[in-house]
């Protein structure tokens, strides 16, 4: 069973919010004793997703949660925007695919960096991405 121990919501509106947000995620990761490599992976993944949010949906909200399942602790981040949505998620998850002018590594790369990855999107309504990084995962 998954239990939420602690949570915090963070608004993303400007580019500078990205740095503050990354620091907040780091605080949470340090608090549960996550190692440096996993911390770096989590924060990099968060950075990619927050950038997508700013670029394609001009901002949104992120929920940061400390979760526990059995003996394992972790961080869950939920990125919610009211942007244009992604018409073809399968295509967006392919390495090298981008509608913007980026490298197209954001979504598939992010998935590789975290323990669990979930994306839901409705065109015209918005996109919600949820990632989980377990302390030892």
């Amino acid at each position: 069973m998954l239990v939420v121990l602690n949570k915090d919501a963070f608004q993303i509106q400007r580019e500078q919010d990205v740095i503050l947000f990354r620091n907040r995620v780091k605080e949470f990761a340090v608090r549960i004793g996550m190692g440096v490599v996993n911390q770096t992976k989590l924060i990099t993944a968060a950075s990619e997703l927050v950038r997508n949010m700013l670029r394609y949906a001009s901002g949104g909200e992120v929920l940061i949660e400390v979760i526990t399942r059995g003996r394992e602790n972790g961080i869950r981040l939920t990125f919610k925007d009211q942007g244009p949505g992604i018409p073809d998620i399968k295509l967006a998850m392919q390495d090298g695919y981008s509608t913007g002018r980026s490298l197209g590594l954001g979504l598939p790369g992010t998935k590789r960096l975290v323990s669990e990855f979930d994306i839901k999107s409705t065109v015209g309504v918005g996109t919600t991405v949820t990632i989980v990084k377990w302390k030892n995962g």
Binding site: V37, I43, S47, R51, L103
Partner: protein, 137 residues
């Protein structure tokens, strides 16, 4: 506006990134650096990222761009001091940074730049032996 300082050391430019970069700051650094190479005729650029804890796909792309742009202006770029967790994360993200030279620390980076420039100089001094280039073998 906030800026990353670019220091001149002989025929090299030295950039030490001490803060977390948000996108606009990274883009400003890119253009400042390219202009500085052109203005000073610098032959090498050394970028110290030892204080950078997160390199995401955007930052990675900027580093790659700087190296390619510098190359077009006849300067070599060496990135030094990458944290191990950053290297692990970059590769899992899918960013291999082809064309970016690295060294473990500033001292080794300087040696690498010096040897690169010496090699180029000695090739240029060598006599031209391509006189019979019209006969393929």
């Amino acid at each position: 506006m906030e800026r990353i300082p670019i220091l001149r050391m002989g025929s090299f430019l030295l950039v030490t990134i001490q803060v977390d970069l948000y996108d606009r700051l990274a883009l400003t650094l890119e253009s400042d650096l390219v202009q500085a190479i052109s203005k000073t005729g610098a032959q090498g650029v050394l970028i110290d990222i030892s204080a950078v804890s997160i390199v995401d796909s955007f930052m990675g792309r900027i580093i790659g761009n700087i190296a390619s742009m510098a190359r077009l202006l006849d300067a070599y770029t060496v990135v030094v001091g990458m944290q191990p967790a950053v290297a692990i994360t970059l590769i899992e993200l899918g960013l291999t940074l082809p064309g970016v030279q690295t060294a473990l620390n500033v001292e080794k980076g300087m040696q690498l730049l010096q040897s690169r420039i010496q090699v180029t100089a000695s090739v240029e001094e060598a006599p031209n032996e391509d006189d019979d280039a019209g006969s393929p073998e």
